[in-house]
Amino acid sequence: MIPSDHFVRFYNEVFKFLDERNGLEKYYAHISAHQEFHCLKDFSEKKLKGVYDYYVKIRKEENCGMELRLEKDCIYLGMTACPSLAKAIDNDAGACPKYCLHCPGWTFPLYRKAGLFQVKDMMGLDNPACRSWIFEDREKAQKKYEELLKTCPAEMIKKNF
């Protein structure tokens, strides 16, 4: 058994393996479908409140440094200390340079399927921090996306719509 504590370091090896075979995107889609088992019903039915409740649990179980705010129109999720990338870095096997990309890789299709619009500032792929905004309204998400493009490197700003 790979301990759940060490899953991230196995995940990191999986990403290296798949990246060498140009297989990351297909795998992200597979993981996104798997995560539907845990999240899709709540995200689809409860919308932002469902997302908020999920990340309250994740923040605790994964020991995240995370600012989480349920606002009127959106959720703000500010990862200030990502335990996932931090473990991938604190690792004798070395971190996969694309490690962070799995996060939008699985969340983007899932939110899309739940009717939610996500904008993400990756804040660097070697930095265990990022920011996400999740909206029910596409126009508001687009406005946030354009606002971020004015102040952040464009390659770090991603959206699921």
Binding site: S4, F17, H30, F37, K87
Partner: protein
């Protein structure tokens, strides 16, 4: 200081434990916080994915590399004949997951019997089907930890979620 507080049975432990070892420093990866057991689900689906898309041999190689590279600290100690981190690793991480196990150390042999695999238990609680490749996690990662050392590993499957993991030190004749 954390101790060996779970149901562990040690025999002839003096062979492995050097006086003055600090348990907190014995493990390369210190994990003391909350657990996210749903990671077992992602591991389970990933094992199937790799085997089905790249073949079982590729999955074995990936797991063995994980054992070899991620657990470098355990492997390097094993190269020197020191099994202390391997013992603490087995004990601590199965204890954290509320595993039912018995760890027996006797001279050149470590026997780790897992009566109820915590990963399988969690997958069942989620209603997920256990991957047919699940136990390769154990056999291949353990083999990777031992690769190039004077230790060998084997796993005997004794039942669903029940296995005996054996590490043996090769003795020069």
């Amino acid at each position: 200081m954390r101790g060996f507080s779970s149901p562990v049975f040690f025999l002839n432990i003096e062979f492995f434990i050097t006086e003055g070892i600090d348990n907190e420093k014995m493990l390369r990866y210190q994990e003391n916080n909350e657990l996210h057991r749903d990671f077992h689900g992602t591991t389970n689906t990933t094992l199937n994915y790799i085997a089905e898309n790249y073949g079982v041999d590729a999955l074995k190689a990936l797991l063995r590399k994980t054992g070899h590279d991620v657990y470098k600290s355990i492997r390097v100690k094993l190269e020197k004949g020191d099994a202390s981190e391997l013992i603490e690793h087995l004990n601590w991480f199965f204890y954290r997951e509320n595993g039912k196990f018995q760890l027996t150390v006797d001279g050149n042999e470590i026997r780790f019997e897992v009566f109820e695999c915590p990963a399988h238990k969690h997958l069942k609680s989620l209603g997920m089907e256990i991957s047919p490749y699940s136990c390769l996690q154990t056999s291949e990662v353990n083999a990777g930890m031992c690769e190039g050392t004077c230790w060998t590993s084997s796993v005997e499957i004794l039942g669903e979620g029940h296995c005996m993991q054996i590490f043996r030190k090769k003795v020069d004749k």
